[in-house]
Symmetry: C2
Subunit: 213 residues, 2 copies
DNA sequence: CGTTAATTTGAGACCATTCAATTTCGGTGG
DNA sequence: CCACCGAAATTGAATGGTCTCAAATTAACG
């Protein structure tokens, strides 16, 4: 809280950071959803992470000199923009904060590893189930109990770009998960009807999130 | 070099770290190749990175309390095993080393991000070409000029598990890359015949490796 | 309430998989 | 130096999961 920051509001699908840009800030997501993505030369897009409030979306920018991917808001977002230099000074001054911040970047990396597994080796049903498990697991930490109902503003196209599928096939796979009685998903709200079943389908093991307490 | 370490030799396909294991050491690869992987419940395997001499294979173990994936030797390897506590003490004591080590873990993460893109959005030809580009780019840094010829002991099955393909299809794709005059690959040796062409096919941009000097 | 975005549906094509058999290669012992 | 062996690479044919391309329907928004 002692860090200097500027609060900034982003509309839907606004660019927060662009690939190839020199890094000047680190950005904390206060409200709304955001995602990170890379664009391919052929126009394809791969989403590499989704972010929910309370998460840094580009912490690696503190030490890497150049952004290697894009960061976009998913819906209307409020962000706290922290000058990279201020964050790094704090991190140098406080060993405890340093460890916390470093660990945050390491967990980030662990999630990417799991995503490699997800898009590399799981079929469409497991892929989407796994992604939903991860999102719900993380949403649980920032929300009071909502009886399993969560804001979930991702479009099927975004879900598709995150899982390496097409929007059409994502749609069919979601219908399958619904038919199986695992989830409800509509109007930007997600409810998990059968958590154990969804974890089972998605081959989900929370170990990689390193949230044991 | 001041760090305490024990030198250890691993045979082919030996486990260096196992998923779920409490972390006690960090391991530096001195000789040979290694890889990191995750196993799926259904028996599938996804390789999430390859490592060449001079690289740490599990630096995140310094701060995360538990291994979230497996590390295996690929061929005969020599490793320097550094007690986690010793490394962390050094890192606390020296700001310069701290930055270097942290940045190393951040580049690690950047590579995972690119791998998500690779297995998520590229077709088999581009996927394999991209992986070869990355490996050769990294091999160049540790080898004197070898006229484009490098040790490359990965089997086609390992290449397949890293790209999310089957060994059969990997074989056919490698034949295609050979027929196109891009690479030579046999007997554990790789030669790139057309670097620009291979980068083009693989949609390879070295930015994510953060090696600009 | 109009307009655009998002979701849903259908049919056909294709890339990659599966399964099985064959060939080649690398290493080992005689 | 050759015979042998298991691992790795290669080939073929059939299957299948996912994609592509359109069009239709529904939901979101100003």
């Amino acid at each position: 809280m002692a860090l200097p920051f500027t609060r900034k509001v982003f509309g839907k699908d606004a660019y927060v950071v662009r690939e190839g840009q020199p890094t000047t800030d680190c950005t904390l997501l206060l409200k709304g959803f955001a995602y990170r993505q890379k664009l391919l030369r052929d126009g394809g897009r791969q989403i590499i992470s989704f972010h929910i409030p309370s998460e840094f979306v580009d912490l690696q920018n503190g030490l890497l000199g150049m952004a290697d991917h894009n960061v976009q808001s998913l819906n209307r977002c409020e962000m706290a923009i922290v000058p990279r230099s201020a964050l790094m000074e704090l991190v140098e001054a406080s060993p405890a904060i340093r460890l916390a911040v470093w660990i945050d970047t390491l967990i980030d990396a662990s999630i990417f590893r799991e995503w490699v597994v997800n898009v590399g080796r799981r079929d469409s049903r497991a892929r989407i189930a796994h992604l939903l498990c991860e999102m719900v697991f993380r949403l649980k930490r920032i929300h009071a109990d909502r009886e399993g109902l969560y804001d979930f503003p991702l479009t099927q196209e975004q879900l598709a770009d995150a899982t390496g599928l097409t929007a059409v096939h994502t749609n069919r796979t979601l219908q399958l998960l619904r038919r199986e009685g695992l989830i409800q998903l509509s109007s930007g709200m997600l409810r998990v009807l059968d958590w154990d079943g969804l974890c089972d389908v998605g081959d989900f093991d929370e170990l990689y999130l390193h949230q044991a307490i």
